[in-house]
Every structure is written in C-alpha cells, then in structure tokens.
C-alpha cells in the first residue's frame, strides 16, 4: 500500500497528492510517469510525475478530477489513506541537454508535469522561458514554483482574469519570432499540444510533447497506447511518453482518447449518483 502523506487543493478540481513510493522516487527522472490503482476494483491510470523526493521516499502527483477514477480519488482518498498500487517510474526520461534557450509551454493541469522538465533543463544550463496557460484564474497553480525554475514566466488565461488574455500559442509565436529558441516542450491537452507543434514547425524549431493516450499496463504489454509518430506506430508507454510534436498524428490520438467515452460517462454518472445517495 502507498500512503498519501499530504493532500492539498491547488485549483478548481485540481489536487496535489504526495504519496509514499520510495522505489519510484529513487529512480524518477523528468518526463517519466507512474501508473496508479486506487483499490482492488480500480483501473490502472497513468499520471506524469510532477515531483519526487528520494530522501523522503515520496512522489507528487497532480490530478484533475475529470472521470470516475480521478473524481473518486478526490472525494474518497485523503491524507493518511493509501493507494492500492503505484508503479514506476515508467517511460523514457526527457532528453535533457544544454540546448541554449528553451521554451516550456504548459496548458491547464500540464503545469504540473512541465515543472520537473523545466527544472531539469534549467539545471542543465539552459535559459528557460515558461508559458503557463489556463481557461481562467481559478485553474492556475504552482506559478511560484515554476517561476523558481525558469528565467521568465509568461502567464495567460483565455478570459484575461490573470496574466495575458489569450491562448498559450500567442506568446509562443512571439518568442519563436524574436528569440533564438533551440527547442520547445509542450504539455497539456492534445489540442493545445497540436497547435504549439504547428507553431514550432512553422518556425523550424524542434518541439517535444508528452502524450497521454489510454493505457492499461503501462509497460509495453497491451498496445492500447499506440500512437502514430512519423508514420510509425509507437507505444507511448515504452517509446514515449515524449515524442517530436511535429511528427505526431494528432487526429488519431484524439480519436483514440475517446475510445471508451460511453463507458466512461456511464461510470462517472453511476459514481456521482452513489455520492449523492451517500450525502443525502
């Protein structure tokens, strides 16, 4: 069992969990993920590592409650409770080098997984510019942490309630025009990563994205997470999760993300009904 040491609300429906998982914490590197399972009837879900502390033996996961499992985690798993399973670190680490000037773009809950990547790039000597965007102010978090690992932090909201009004792609395009950007990273919703990739492709700048397809085992056994990169089928769990954004078949990724939409809706509705019954 993997004890939740700390649970903290970060933003609307976004929660930070610090979890005892010493073996994962000891080996973790930027860009990798863990697979967790809440309980004996639970599904296995992949979550990119947001932070880790080998000395304390803990990892940090930032979870947005969007489906049945993440909502159950939010409602029923608190500090002192335990997760049934945590396995990792999985996937290949980010390729960290001193590239020069790099831009790290985060959309929504993607702020959490971009943090260790930005930190590693900064430690490697890069000049790191971060762009963090969300729909509205209430969905932003960890801006102070991000600011500590970059040279410049640009914040955007769709509604202008914090920072610049607009999408993350706007400051990205400006930076690509005026700075000598050696490489970019983008982590967030598929559609946001797709448009960041298009912008970088136009500017001739390599961009790395972290893909989040549906997974079961997360160790290369099932192939549920297959994505098409540069015309080849790859498994996000073992070949990724990071790939060159300009080579990803985004339409296929987005279609496959919806493979169990109906089942997911049914499970979520049942869970919400059970919650209401319990509180009534």
């Amino acid at each position: 069992m993997y004890a939740i040491v700390k649970k903290r609300n970060l933003a609307d429906q976004i929660t930070e969990y610090v979890v005892q998982a010493p073996l994962v914490a000891r080996a973790a590197q930027a860009g990798q993920f863990a697979v967790i399972r809440l309980h004996e009837r639970g599904e296995r879900i992949p979550l990119t590592l947001a932070d880790w502390d080998p000395d304390c033996g803990t990892i940090t996961l930032v979870v947005q409650a969007v489906g049945k499992t993440t909502m159950e985690m939010e409602e029923r798993f608190h500090g002192g409770d335990s997760l049934a399973d945590v396995v990792g670190p999985l996937g290949e680490p980010s390729e960290i080098e001193d590239y020069g000037t790099v831009v790290c773009v985060a959309g929504g809950v993607g702020i959490a997984p971009i943090y260790p990547v930005a930190r590693a790039l900064k430690e490697a000597g890069n000049e790191v510019i971060c762009i963090a965007g969300a729909r509205t102010r209430g969905l932003l978090f960890w801006l102070d942490r991000l600011a500590q690992v970059c040279d410049e932090l640009i914040v955007t909201t769709d509604d202008g309630s914090h920072g610049r009004k607009g999408l993350v792609t706007e400051p990205l395009k400006e930076l690509l025009e005026k700075e000598r950007v050696a490489r970019a990273w983008a982590i967030g919703p598929a559609i946001m990563m797709k448009f960041c990739s298009l912008a970088c492709q136009e500017a001739g700048v390599p961009i790395i994205v972290s893909l989040n397809p549906i997974m079961v085992d997360g160790t290369g056994m099932c192939g549920a997470c297959r994505v098409e990169v540069d015309g080849r089928v790859r498994f996000a769990c073992v070949d990724g999760p990071e790939f060159r954004g300009d080579q990803v078949n985004w339409d296929l990724l987005m279609a496959r993300l919806a493979a169990f939409k109906e089942e997911e809706r049914c499970a979520l509705e049942q869970f919400k009904a059970a919650l209401e019954e319990a509180t009534a």
Binding site: L23, V24, R26, A27, R37, R41, G42, E43, R44, K68, T69, A84, D85, V86, V87, G88, P89, L90, V216, D217, T219, G220, M221, C222, G223, A224, R226, E228, V233, V238, L252, A255, R256, A258, A259, F260, E262, E263, E264, C266, A267, Q270
Partner: protein, 461 residues
Amino acid sequence: MIRKTRVPMREQAPAVRIHNFQEVPLGYTPEEAIEEAKRCLRCQKAPCIGGCPVEIDIPRFIAHIADGDFRVAIRVIKEANTLPAVCGRVCPQETQCEGLCTLGKKFEPVAIGRLERFAADWEREQGMEMPPVGAPTGFRVAVVGSGPAGLACAVDLRRSGHAVTMFEALHEPGGVLMYGIPEFRLPKDIVRAEIATLQAMGVELVTNAVVGKTFTVDELLADGYQAVFVGTGAGLPRFLGIPGESLIGVYSANEFLTRVNLMRAYRFPEYDTPIRVGRRVAVVGGGNVAMDAARTALRLGAEEVLVLYRRTEAEMPARREEIRHAKEEDIEFHFLVNPVRFLGEHGELSAVECVRMELGPPDESGRRRPIPIEGSEFVITIDTAVIAIGNQPHPLVPRTTPGLAVTRWGTIQADEDGTTSREGVFAGGDIVTGAATVISAMGAGKKAAAAIDRYLREKGA
C-alpha cells in the same frame, strides 16, 4: 478388459457456458479418476515421462490414484511440478505426455492431464501441503517475473534453502496465468492458491516492480542478491502492420485479455476497467490465445465471433480441446484467410478486408507457408477485431543490462540450464525461447534453479 475410450469429463453445456465466465470442464469425481487411472498400462519404459518437460513420474502418480491414495499421488506430482492444478488445465498434453502414451497407439491415450488436475484439485479441497524448505544457505536470489518460469524457479530455489525475492511488474503475481489465460479456462483463485503456497514457503513477493525501470538487474546484484533469474516472458504484442490497425475497435489480444482477466472488465462498472465488444467480432490467429480471445468475446455478448486463420485447421497451434470448445460454442472458423487492411468510419472499425491464401512448400517452422491468392480480396463487416498472432520477448531487461547477450530476435541468449553471458544472471522461459507454453517455461525455470543452486554452492565454497 481395458476401456478403449477415456472416462469423459463433465463440462458446462455450450448454451449455458457462453453466458458466464465459469470454468468449462468440471473435473473428475474420485470414482471417475480411479476408473480412468486403471486404464494406465504401467509400462516399464514409460514413454509419457519423456514427453513431460518437467518429467513427472506419471505411471507412479497414476498408480496411486488407481489405489485411491490421492495424497501420495499429488506428492509424486509435486516432486517435479509445483503448479499441477495449472498444468492439468493448460498443458498441450496431446503433443506431450499423452501423445507418447502406449495405450494411445491402439485406443485413446490415458487422460494424464485430467488425472493431474484431479489430484491437484483434490489436494486444494483437502488442504494444501507445503513442500519442504531446505536449511538456510545464506544466499539471496532475485527472481524477475512471476509467471510460470519464475514461479517454478522460485519454488526449487526455496526448496534448496536459498532466500528468494520474486519481482512482478503488475499489481498481481502470476504473469500470463493472471493476465492472459481466461477465468473459464484457468480460474484465478487456483493461481492465487498456488502463489499463496509459495509465500507460505517463504518466497518474498514484490509487486509493482518493473525491473529495468524501477531498478536494474545490476542494482539487484549490487544490493545483496548473489544471483538473478530473468523470466520476463514474451509480453510484447505483435500487430499485423496493416492499414487501419489503430482504429478504435482493434485490440491486441494482450489488451483484450488483460482488460478482462487481470482487470475484470467483464464485471464493469463494478470494476472500473471498461471493455467494448461489438456484435460481430473477428479474431486473427490460430493459437490458444486466439481461442481464448474468441471465446471471451462471445461471453462479453458478441453475437457472432469469427476466427480468421491464414493456414488450415491442421496447422493450428491451439490445443485440440480449445478448438473443440470453440466450435461447440459456435465460433465460426475461416481458414486460409488473412487480413490486408481494416476499414473504418469516423475513426471506428467497420470492416476488414481479407485475402484468400493457399499453402505452399513448408517454411522454417515446418508448416506449409501460406501464400496470398492475388485478386481474391473480400470484405467482412465487423465492429471489433482482436489481433492474436503472437508475442515478442519483453525488451526491458535485455536493454537495461549491459553485457547480457541477446539474439537477433531479442531473446536472451542462454544455455539449456539458463546460464547467460553475464555471471550470476540466469534466464528461462519465453524470454529465452520466444513465445511457447506454460510447461516449457516451468521446465526452464526448474533447470535454471538447479544451475543457480550449483553456481551458488561453488561460489560459496
């Protein structure tokens, strides 16, 4: 007078069993087992033993069943085989022990597998006897992978008195026995009971440990393990590599079966992992995994299940019993047919285009090579497809263990006894041979355990 035919085993009727996940064959009663055991000729030469990868003393255990002494019978089996309840159910006996049975030359061979299963089930009901554990040697061995090879290796190492830690990547031990083989062919409680015996013997079990990620083989060796056994299996699914294979509705057999077996998707939404099965399902392949996938699809509510196989029934690698079960369940077999592309609408699978095949001269496997007949393409309407054309060795350990020699197929190079190019590192099972059977992996695990025991004693002396 010897019975010419074997004592039949009662089974769930096809019309009933296609609606549940309970086991299909129901096992022998003690009376039935004794009657079947009496058919054994007790040949001096016992050719059956030579057909068994773990060399169970078959005539001896069967003689004890014939005498009604079931406790001794199971002890005899367990001298050689730690997982008899599993092997009695999933071994391809017709090509192994039963294939060499003397009685089989004139009549039906003795039902050795069914008798093995009977003895194991009898013991589980009566209370399992723990195999004796040797005096502590002070050596520690890491067993990587808890499938058939790892389980067999761990038991024998423990019997020799070594401290054993078994590492499993998934959340439950058992490997393919848990994620691959369906409940209706191998109830998971049986696997759990076998693993509980191992733990009672003192084998330490660490789940959620992906060797090659969580830590490496070299870290294990530096961490106080004097030897490592790698039994990580052939867990990587093979796809056809044809257009449309990433459409929604196309599964690898591994994904399809893992969702259902390990994650219990057949009980969704009580269990959280979903599975989607359409009305018309095509399973591609002709092995046991293809049969498992087809029969699973039926139980998940598919109206029609088709098996597409590029050779003919005679070349099918599946056990005869599985083919018979599938046919009884009205699974449709299409032989000499191979998919060339999947067709979709709005990203979802809607049909498969196939080409007809004919058999040419034998290939390297000794089976006649299937050759496409030009211009014979045709389309089958389906909404789910499961690709069951085999698995590849898992690359994680070879990739992260410097100096560990691998073949060009990605399997670990190992001698007959599991010795690899790295001192203290042994390997066996599908990671060495490529995808094979449960029992051959167990045989390799046992041989490696003996080699590890020798290695440690020589090293310690």
